[in-house]
Symmetry: C2
Subunit: 223 residues, 2 copies
């Protein structure tokens, strides 16, 4: 923020928005250049096939400079998507108490993050962008899986832990769609506590509930 | 399909795709013209403020001709969105047996419709389009509320029936996102019966389950 000192590479949440115009050349623009390069690399190759070195090459900077601004490729992804919170801090804060009550903790935190107007604008934009193309969907999927679904599945003590964690994710995605994107009423205006009381037990059931049958035999593949 | 006979106005599912090119002028093109006019009207005004008469005016045809092809504005909406099934037939088939077991019936039918590859292509396209703008979201919301959520809420015997039906809708939207758009594995490849066994009880709880507290007092509006 001051003079030419580079921003702290860890302080991504506070300065996640790339500086675009009206600033003299310098480090903030370097960060923006790296983010722009990362976007084009992610778009061309998909998240998994992009390296920090490749981003540096496209940005025309030394790889060490990329590592100065971003600790990891996940950091770059979060900056590219402009995510308004760091799931790598939020998720462990909920999972470290274990599976008991986790559904309610997730529901509370999810609603409190999304109900915040500033966050909501960014998160709706990310969700919308993720639907615009397979590439954008790949970025959201990469972030979701690595930073949200996997850490949640790690505390689920069941053979189908990943599937259960994805069901948690599906309910959260759907809540985001219904409450914040489509704005269905009365759900969109319901008090946070009402929403949490509805959604929390669903998440908890996915986390540690008994599933009546592993397979519903009467389900047909298609009609 | 044969000669110049106009298509049956009720047979919308079979001929939902507008004829675009390579056909001689005639009735199918009239239908396509009406759909194009409806799209532009919906975009300009939103679903609620569009009338059959207004669509006829923009299409440059007599209102009676719009009513020849489409029984109602809902028919026009389904044709505009190119929905591959008629929710006004599908939903009552599930709700007429009442609230008991409804969650499982909805889950089975939803998965069977979406798992069908032809349907899936169209439904993913509709979901994606609905995220592209507020106007497109308005169209999806209008269709969801009128043809899916309201009929489901009508069989829920609770003061918060609409909210509960919207929670059903939220889980279905989220399942569509996770399984068919983001294609999270293993959820995307899970057998239909496995998905139904996970999702069905969630829907049933929203329909007639006891909610531990109407309001979760510990939820905070924002952090």
């Amino acid at each position: 923020m001051v003079g030419d000192a580079p921003p702290s590479p860890r302080n991504t949440a506070a300065r996640r928005r790339p500086v675009r115009t009206g600033r003299r050349p310098g480090n903030p623009d370097t960060r923006a250049t790296i983010i722009a390069a990362a976007e084009s690399e992610f778009t061309a190759k998909g998240f998994d096939r992009v390296s920090m070195r490749g981003i540096a090459k496209v940005a025309g900077v030394d790889p060490a400079l990329v590592h100065h601004y971003f600790d990891s490729k996940d950091d770059v992804l979060l900056a590219t998507l402009d995510v308004p919170f760091d799931p790598r801090e939020v998720i462990p804060a909920m999972t470290r108490e274990g599976a008991e009550g986790l559904g309610l903790r997730i529901a509370r935190r999810f609603v409190s993050i999304w109900d915040d107007p500033d966050n909501q604008v960014r998160l709706v934009a990310i969700l919308r962008a993720s639907m615009s193309s397979d590439v954008a969907a790949d970025l959201l999927r990469s972030g979701l899986v690595r930073m949200i679904i996997t850490p949640i599945s790690d505390v689920i003590d069941a053979p189908d832990a990943v599937l259960r964690a994805q069901c948690v994710g599906s309910q959260l995605l759907g809540l985001a769609m219904a409450r914040y994107v489509l704005r269905l009423e009365p759900l969109a205006s319901a008090q946070p506590g009402v929403v949490v009381a509805q959604i929390g037990p669903t998440l908890q059931r996915y986390i540690d509930g008994h599933l009546p049958r592993g397979v519903d035999e009467s389900a047909q593949p298609a009609e």
